[in-house]
Symmetry: C2
Subunit: 426 residues, 2 copies
């Protein structure tokens, strides 16, 4: 028992509370420089006047700060072609991220394959590589060797030396403390509690940041997708597991202590189905592909042959469902109902303006059929407001690797802009 | 079916995405002036140098801004007594909120009683009143008349005219859009969809803001309790319903569109117990007092007499449980297990550094007995980290009214400090 229970009595608040003179807070305001960079990066191209408007600061401040960011080599001026050139006046100039400022590698290490992309600082993909693997947890040395080989392959494909890479981002499924790069548990590792960022950094000879793979999908959307137009949205990923990422005010939110947003392991049934995390009743134990495969082998009396991939099994199950097999249909139907529970809980808690469903499994449209949406509507707070829009992005592992690259881009940006200079001096 | 489903194909991201030049965002940075005020307000008393340090801005900026805030009448300088007065040098000066800047009233309208407090701007309580009522949903006119009478009583008790009140905050259970003051559903109202803020403002002749009552408990903690020392925490309230409030970085988070954090209506069982919101499987349908009372009348074969209060029934149930009645114990035991599910889901999603359990029902210690914590530990991500501290604040309705007053204080502050002046000009 490690929980601490303290108890306050009935005296209540209301007295003039004089807190400690030195409050134990570590909040520092995000420097305006970083906010300016992020607004430009998020929008792709943005005129200075728009940056000033969106951040509520003066045009003079934005001019000063963008000059610094141009000097640091992070931003550049881009002349925007006019739709109808009147030939009069100066052509409009916008700010954009300088593509050749840095190169980064993002990789997703997963149960089935490892993927990597090499991006420039503006997010252009210069090379990508994928290596399939045996679906099983690895020891740390094997996983590090695989990431080392993947870096070699993707840099070779781009025709750049490893030394040209500024940073590496790595995504793994499971419970990850991103700030420290510590992996508490991951289905790709056969040990619990591993300092992946530190070990990978030593092995690769490059700065490495690590995050939960669902967070990386949210980061990919933030940098290259929905984040260009939205400040707040939720991403739910369905693959071998079920994950979630939340973007709040243009930033990825990882929970109060960095290991939150584990929607797949929220409990939707007391003493429910067994999850691969070892607990019972987790949402992903009803929705993820291993949950469907488990039911397929049971209900359809199939024998799961050693080495047979879950993908093949699920494709077969899907074909049976489409052909009208009642047991196969019931498996997808139940998974869809539980997905509705999960999505309704996301709405009831986060009230997002947009939900993005992401992952290869979204090809199984039973999961998000009209039935699922109808069920979800029955489970969402009855306010009379419409459900939030739900977009389905059926992108593959390359998207996840893009998210890992966005993580690397973030770390490069933060390292360049830190330590925060005084706002008032700008 | 109101959900919108859109589908993106397999082309994926990676192109240089040039977003729209004018992004449809409404983000403006929180003005530094407001941040300075909030840091001082949260800490009780704070020296200028500490404000500068915590916000990462220059001492000169803080001096300028605090002069403005003193001129606006919101802050004042307070001489801090030294523990050992050396008699040399100037005594240290800290900033504090000016108590007589404004008076506000906060009230909680609930199923059982209406409560109100009258506070000064520093949070000192000048008067409080409580009026018990028949536990039933009211029509809007009755509810407005009750709040009008309550304002009369609490201003009379404080010996101030109604015209001395700057703002009123009202908390009600249910689904509330705080920015607009619209109540989608509340157990205290017999209609759905009511513009409570507007109607109450007309009736009372004062500016009125409205919020969900659990959010108000979080606000009370933010202004007068845990918020003095913490930037981030979660509050879970258990009373007639089960609610949640989340404080992120010194601010109440209400979800992406303002009606989030409805933990009590997250679904923990497909086709589960009936909730008073009309849906099935809501967490509160297993934990809130009406859920326990429902089971008590069934399992113990008690007849629920008209007019008999839920409180009396629950006290009796609690006495039976303490005396060893197995059915009574099993009712609390199951409620405790479901509470563990709810708290574990809070941890798995929000990974908070602190959870505060609040509400009168916390007197029933079965709900948070060692069993509950042990169950919770089994349901929380197995990272090996300790559970977050769980504090039990068994305060009554007066705390909720304090939260409503904090809402009124927030609205006064924001009105005084808005529209945001340009950061660069400060």
């Amino acid at each position: 028992m490690t929980g601490m229970l303290t108890h306050s009595g009935d005296d209540g608040p209301g007295r003039r509370g004089c807190g400690p003179l030195i409050a134990p807070l570590s909040e520092t305001m995000r420097p305006l420089r970083q906010q300016v960079f992020e607004r430009v990066r998020a929008s792709g191209l943005m005129p200075r006047v728009q940056v000033a408007k969106e951040l509520g600061v003066s045009a003079a401040s934005v001019t000063t700060i963008t000059s610094e960011l141009i000097e640091l080599g992070l931003l550049e001026e881009v002349t925007v072609p006019r739709e109808t050139d009147t030939g009069r006046g100066r052509p409009p100039v916008a700010l954009g991220v300088r593509a050749d400022a840095h190169l980064v590698v993002g990789m997703k290490l997963s149960d089935r394959e490892h993927t990597a992309v090499l991006l420039d600082f503006a997010g252009n993909m210069l090379a990508s590589e994928a290596v399939s693997r045996e679906p099983a947890a690895s020891d740390p040395a094997t996983l590090l060797a695989a990431s080392d080989a993947l870096i070699d392959r993707v840099t070779a494909a781009a025709g750049v030396p490893r030394s040209a890479i500024s940073a590496v981002g790595i995504g793994v499924p499971g419970f990850v403390d991103s700030p420290s790069g510590h992996v508490y548990w991951s289905s790709v590792l056969n040990v619990r509690g591993f300092d992946l960022a530190r070990a990978a950094s030593q092995r690769l000879g490059l700065p490495v940041t690590v995050d939960n793979d669902a967070n990386l999908v949210a980061l990919a959307e933030l940098w290259f997708g929905a984040g260009r137009e939205r400040a707040d949205f939720a991403v739910v990923t369905i693959e071998h597991g079920l994950g979630m990422g939340l973007v709040l005010n243009h930033r990825l939110y990882r929970g109060g202590q960095g290991v939150g947003m584990e929607l797949g392991h929220t409990k939707v049934q007391l003493d429910g189905a067994l999850c691969r995390c070892g607990q019972r009743g987790c949402l992903e134990a009803y929705v993820a592909d291993y949950a469907l495969a488990r039911e397929a082998t049971t209900a359809l009396n199939w024998i799961y042959k050693d080495g047979q991939s879950v993908q093949i099994l699920l494709e077969s199950l899907y074909d049976h469902a489409k052909a009208g097999n009642p047991a196969a249909r019931s498996i997808f139907r139940r998974a869809g109902r539980y997905l509705a529970v999960g999505l309704a809980n996301v709405v009831n808690l986060f009230d997002p303006a947009l939900i993005i469903l992401s992952g290869e499994r979204m090809r199984y449209d039973y999961l998000y059929a009209a039935d699922t949406l109808a069920e979800m509507e029955n489970l969402v707070l009855a306010t009379g407001r419409p459900l939030p829009p739900i977009e389905v992005h059926a992108w593959g592992d390359m998207l996840w690797a893009h998210g890992a690259a966005a993580l690397a881009l973030s770390s490069v940006t933060e390292a360049t802009l830190a330590p925060p200079r005084e706002l008032a001096a700008q």
